[in-house]
């Protein structure tokens, strides 16, 4: 819980298509996303006084450029006072609110440009990506020597969860199908062809019971948004996206040290966020849930209280989470269908939540969306971040 409820707001969003763009320098994804966000907000670029990039993983050289003010210079931000990287892996998008919001509320900054870009689709090979994610965030002493990697981690969670709840492979596949239905409507998504449960279950096994089409894939991409005070936001736009509440928990570094790999810290994080917002899951119009693998979307929704434990798979099978459903979920298609861009998977979900609340989601617009929840988690699901946003301050 924080004291930021109703004090800060998103006033502009930007995003470039996710995909493989071998001819495009990584910095393009950052500056084009940022440029779009500035244009969307309608503010003069020189009002931005804090540039807050998150980290890129494909190249230490590129990441250093993000740290050393390249974005401010490329965009010609004449009044930038601070450029400081905020990085919490997949939780970075959620952390932008905590740190950027605090800078605004304290008066350190007036307009914070939050931005992500990476080139994990063309900057590393497919096997290079697997190898990168068999070491990044995985304990070099206690897990790397046993052949641990992100697919086996998701599989360990899925296996135990299915064992405890009786949920089936079809339930897991239904998450992929649901997210794909949204991606079909998202011009920035990589995977836009219709997908069936049969397609998912016919794809090759990676680590039992996880299959290839239940795994995210890595791509190039970028997204950005602009934070300012709620007071300033009202003068800038008639559709500010207000920050209403947050909650989070850190649970582990070494994955195998997690005491319950089917729950993590979502229940407590969610309780804090809803309490601060003064809302319940019933009030939520759109849920942007971190979905690097289907199991994490399922667990998060259950632990947040959108349904009982063991029931989220049914929601996805029955169409409640689809376009036109009762609980529109991960409406950009998520990392499973829009594509995973590293820390940007979570930033894209923040941007999508804002897009829906601003009424700018085009063919996939959830009519009359007032309240959204966004979740992020980093590393090997080391933390649980829940953020609640709204078009009004209830």
């Amino acid at each position: 819980m924080s004291s930021l409820r109703g004090k800060i707001a998103i006033v502009g969003i930007g995003e470039v298509p996710t995909g493989r763009f071998p001819e495009r320098a990584a910095i393009y994804h950052a500056i084009e996303s940022a440029r779009q966000a500035i244009k969307d907000s309608g503010i003069d670029k020189n009002l931005i006084d804090f540039v807050m990039p998150t980290a890129a993983l494909f190249s230490p050289q590129f990441n250093t450029e993000l740290v050393t003010c390249r974005i401010a210079e490329e965009l010609g931000l004449k009044n930038a006072k601070t450029n400081c990287q905020i990085f919490a892996g997949g939780s970075s998008g959620s952390c932008f609110f905590k740190l950027g919001g605090s800078a605004i509320e304290s008066g350190i900054a007036k307009y914070v440009l939050c931005v992500h870009a990476d080139r994990l689709g063309t900057g590393v090979t497919a096997q290079g990506g697997i190898d990168l994610f068999s070491t990044a965030g995985i304990s070099a002493e206690w897990e790397v020597p046993y052949g641990q990697h992100y697919s086996s981690i998701a599989a360990l969670t899925t296996m135990r969860y299915q064992y405890e709840t009786g949920c089936t492979d079809e339930h897991m596949a239904a998450v992929c199908v649901s997210n794909r239905k949204w991606a079909e409507l998202n011009p920035n998504a990589v995977f836009r062809k219709p997908l069936t449960i049969e397609d998912v279950l016919a794809s090759k096994v990676l680590s039992t019971p996880l299959r290839a089409k239940q795994s995210n894939m890595l791509f190039d991409g970028g997204s950005a948004f602009i934070l300012t005070s709620a007071e300033r936001a009202k003068d800038i736009t008639d559709r500010p996206v207000y920050f209403l509440g947050e909650g989070s928990r850190v649970t582990h570094f070494v994955f195998s040290q997690e005491r319950d790999i089917t729950r993590f810290g979502w229940a407590e994080a969610g309780k804090d966020a809803f309490l601060e917002a003064g809302l319940t899951p019933n009030d939520i119009d759109v849920a942007e849930i971190y979905d690097s693998y289907p199991i994490y979307q399922i667990i998060t929704m259950e632990e947040l209280g959108f349904c009982d434990r063991g029931q989220a798979g049914e929601l996805h099978l029955a169409g409640d989470t689809w376009p036109g459903g009762r609980l529109p979920t991960t409406t950009n298609g998520g990392m499973l269908s829009q594509g995973h861009t590293g820390a940007g998977g979570g930033v894209a979900l923040v941007v999508e939540a804002a897009r829906q609340l601003m009424g700018k989601a085009g063919a996939r617009q959830v009519p009359g969306a007032r309240f959204a929840v966004e979740t992020g988690t980093g590393g090997t699901y080391m933390d649980a971040h829940v953020t609640i946003l709204g078009t009004e301050i209830p």
């Binding site: 096997q127 897990e143 052949g147 096994v205 039992t208 040290q257």
Partner: protein, 137 residues
Amino acid sequence: MDKPKKPVPIVNDWARPFWEAARQNKLTVQKCDDCGKHIFYPRIACPHCASDNIRWVEASGKGTVYSYTVVENNAPSAFIGDMPYVVAVVKLEEGVQMLSNIVGCDPHRVRCDMPVEVVFEQLDDEFTLPKFKPVSA
């Protein structure tokens, strides 16, 4: 083409006794003499009560499979030749958890909550990894 070398544990110096014991086919964990809890992985102080009063003890080597997976595709480079292999989280009788591999059985015979016991696999001259096999009936 040369096969990529298996990654060896990058050892924190206070964990050295664990790896020295493993080389002698012994599974050890730490125990706090103040709060009485077992500790794994090795720490410089008790993560439960912050006491410095911790010592090494030999573990029973028995536990159960908390969760497991059979890696069949897309393994890290150094493990491609091992597929299919089992990655598992094992809960030891002492109450601590560790990642390991389940060996000595058909990978698809492994189940959650299955009883297992420690075996040792030499990685190179310096390192021996504790792994687990199903407890024979």
